[in-house]
Symmetry: C2
């Protein structure tokens, strides 16, 4: 699915039209920062936070009858297309927090789902935005979300006016002459239940491209990723990097040195 299609989903925000919408459609999921989930600075790994976000998204959908389990019966599934996370501070070891999630808008083929990552006192560590498509598992084509279950999904929209997400939207990538910085083989622990390289593992592999000083002396401020196509166990992944400025790098991941699998933007403060 091309970035052009994805970008269109930012154009308009349909308003909720039925009862049950609004703040009642924001769910909150607690998290705790476990000792093995922090990096050498004592801050949570971004991949772990990403996992919490995806779990929160899954639970929120499931509670409303839009979970993977229900969808699989009609041969549909959710596919994550974009994820952008921006943090003022990363949660630290032993801290308790929560993740709020809600659907900001639904455009034909995509939903925009937002997240607030909150401290115990309710202040924000940061926010995240994501874009999801619903695909038909047989054709692998995106489906019109408004045609599914009589447009039921619109009941769960919480507009930007009702619940803001104060970080920039997903950016565009423009790779000119990125440099190959690493090539890796994929193994057993990279693969999810669908046989695909796990969305979270890409985040880990991308951050592993950076020297430890970036995490020790600086702070990961914003991370964006655009998932383009699936890769599979045994695929070789090549990582190409392009410097935007001294604190911002774009990374393109290609499989078997041809097709683009995903693109990411990493910004340190």
């Amino acid at each position: 699915m091309s970035e052009d299609i994805i970008q269109k989903s930012n154009v308009a925000t349909p308003r909720p039209t039925k009862e049950g919408q609004g703040r009642g459609c924001v769910d909150s999921y607690p998290f705790y920062v476990e000792p093995f989930h922090v990096d050498m600075t004592g801050r949570m790994f971004l991949g772990i936070l990403g996992n919490h976000l995806l779990n929160a998204a899954g639970n929120h959908s499931q509670r409303r009858g839009w979970g993977i389990g229900a969808l699989n019966e009609t041969h549909h599934t959710w596919v994550l297309s974009r994820l952008s996370i921006e943090l003022e501070e990363m949660p630290r070891q032993y801290e308790h927090g929560s993740i709020e999630t809600w659907v900001e808008s639904v455009i034909k083929l995509f939903t925009n789902r937002n997240f607030a990552i909150l401290r115990e006192d309710g202040t924000a560590y940061g926010y995240a935005r994501s874009i999801w498509a619903m695909i038909d598992m047989e054709t692998r084509r995106p489906c019109d979300l408004l045609n599914l279950y009589d447009g039921d999904i619109l009941n769960y929209v919480v507009s930007e006016d009702e619940k803001p997400c104060p970080i920039a939207g997903h950016g565009r990538f423009r790779f000119r002459d990125p440099q190959l910085v690493r090539t890796i083989d994929t193994h057993y622990s990279d693969v999810d239940i669908n046989g695909h390289i796990n969305s979270i593992k890409y985040i880990e592999h991308i951050l592993d491209l950076f020297p430890i000083e970036r995490f020790r002396d600086q702070r990961l401020q914003r991370f964006e990723i655009a998932y383009k196509t699936e890769s599979y166990l045994g695929d070789q992944l090549s990582f190409y990097m392009q410097e935007i400025d001294e604190n911002e790098m774009d990374v393109e991941v290609r499989k078997n040195d041809s097709e683009v699998v995903c693109q990411a933007k990493v910004r340190f403060n």
Copy 2:
């Protein structure tokens, strides 16, 4: 610390001598098998289970005043020396279970801590055994556990008669002519808050040595690991493998192609 010292800790089982011992010293921690924590067969990754075990151990110690936080004040810390996990079945996606943990015995320099990994109905997926040393953070030498806090730790011992752990003890490793099968660099996501390569990451890297057919057509039945010394960010890890029989392999991990970091035994059914 040599394996000989570790083996001694299996010799005798001191009996609890004060009140408060027995079944009341078995704690139970719930777990849930998240979608991103399962492999391509839908079973939980062993590294994730290992993480749950270590969390259960940490919480159990902490509740009794023997947690890392309390110990750090006197410059002591727990070091995991051995971990052996044996499973009849691996928990599957969306299943709920619990981990029981208790201290089976304390020998001068080591504690034997056991685990039961239970289904929702109380039957066992499997069991695990572990050996921990308490070290002085300055000298890095093991401490006599019976001298610490007036031997308080003996209050928490639950003997084998009271609570059995029906799996074999930790085995011995005898490497003769193991073959080098992979060498990897270590990166940001391998390292824990102490700057060491994370105990769980070794498990992931070791299982990544096996072809997917092992996990798809067989089942991981038993995994043992003996931690010998720490490795650090930037160390290169080399993996040497030795076949015991067609379903059992020993793996030795060396850093910078010299010192042995850990040894593992992997048995498929």
